[in-house]
Amino acid sequence: MAQQETDEDGAPVTQTWPEELYALLREAEVTQFGYVPDAGHQVLIDRSIADPEVHSVALTTEEEGVALLAGAHLGGARGVLLMQSSGVGNCINLLSLIKNGGFPFLTLVSMRGDFGEGTSRQIPMGQATQPVLEAMGVTCMRAEHPDEVIPMVRAALTMVFQSGMAVAVLLTQKLIGAKPFK
């Protein structure tokens, strides 16, 4: 299953990067997938649920995922936190654990509230996502085009699991699409 977007003429274009992204994360030995369900991460979530080799952890709130990944690191495992930009706001104080402890931390954030956003309630946290993550010491990378996603996440995986950084890859609305103006 791949996500659909439309080209300039309105014809559907199948995006393959979500499937490739799951394969990349598995190649990098990520075995814990923490998430609060989000449409933008549908493929990754569904793949993790179907994969007997990984732990697919449905969180009641995104901040649990920050702690989950730190615990995974204590046990020698790698994890990823999948969330929407609104969920970033639920994580802030726990990111102090990541910073104080120097824990490797990777999150993929599906963005709302940026390019072309038509739902006003998504604007505050969407616009604040990068500033608050950076304020807590998380390096942000923005993917705006399908061709950028795999190289960017590959780079992020090295930065996180080889260099011990905290990195957020923001899957922006230019990439995943914004709901059209009504």
Binding site: T31, Q32, H55, V57, A58, L59, T60, T61, E63, E64, G65, V66, A67, L68, L69, A70, G71, A72, H73, L74, G75, G76, A77, G79, N93, L94, S96, L97, N100, G101, G102, F103
Partner: protein, 214 residues
């Protein structure tokens, strides 16, 4: 016989003077008895009192304890990530009532996965010990054991009498599924047990103890 007014572990001693709770057990001894032999388990402790309870049982320098000193509320989810990463090791999370209340939804996250090697011990003195012993929600009718049962944790026990400790201790190490023990203790203010608070140092010590490398 110990003079209650000078025993630093006494119920109602120190900053806990005048505070009351439904429990009456002395927390350090009760936790030690519940944990039993700690040599085979990995521990995540919450802040403050829970941390000292664990370190009294394991020894202050035990590298198999990761003591949280910030990020209140992280302890249970951290223990989950560790338990999933190390399925062949026993993982014990020791937390206080105030801290567990802060992220009580984690009990649901844990219950649906039910890792058999994870157990949670909540030391409930019904007060926030580090901030002036304000009464917590559990001192005002909130029952964390009922919340754990409602979340779907199948092995749940409340300990309020000393005679209940052996069965609860056995349940914590049975490994049939995630276990949760709510330990009701009296309000006391025993001296804290010191440990280097550097989170990076504790992280490296822990990984060395578990993985043989930082």
């Amino acid at each position: 016989m110990t003079d209650q007014s000078t025993d630093p572990k006494a119920i109602g001693g120190g900053r806990a003077a005048g505070k009351t709770a439904s429990g009456h057990l002395e927390r350090r001894a009760a936790v030690k008895a519940l944990l039993g032999d700690t040599s085979d388990a990995l521990f995540i402790s919450g802040l403050a009192g829970a941390k000292s309870d664990v370190l009294e049982a394991t020894g202050a320098d035990c590298k198999r304890v990761f003591p949280l000193v910030g990020a209140m509320g992280a302890e249970a989810a951290m223990a989950l990530g560790l338990a999933l990463a190390q399925p062949n090791r026993r993982v014990v999370c020791v937390t206080g009532d105030g801290e567990l209340l802060m992220n009580v939804g984690t009990l649901a996250t844990i219950a649906v996965l039910n890792p058999p090697n994870l157990s949670i011990l909540c030391v409930d003195n019904e007060h926030y010990g580090e901030t002036g012993f304000q009464r917590s929600h559990t001192g005002r009718g909130v029952d964390l054991a009922k919340i754990a049962e409602g979340a779907g944790i199948q092995a749940v026990r409340t300990v309020i009498e000393e005679s209940e400790i052996p069965d609860a201790a056995a349940m914590l190490r049975a490994g049939n599924g995630t276990a949760f023990v709510l330990l009701k203790v009296g309000v006391s203010d025993p001296p804290g047990i010191s440990r280097n608070r550097d989170a990076a140092l504790n992280k490296n010590w822990f990984r060395e103890a578990v993985l043989g490398e930082a």
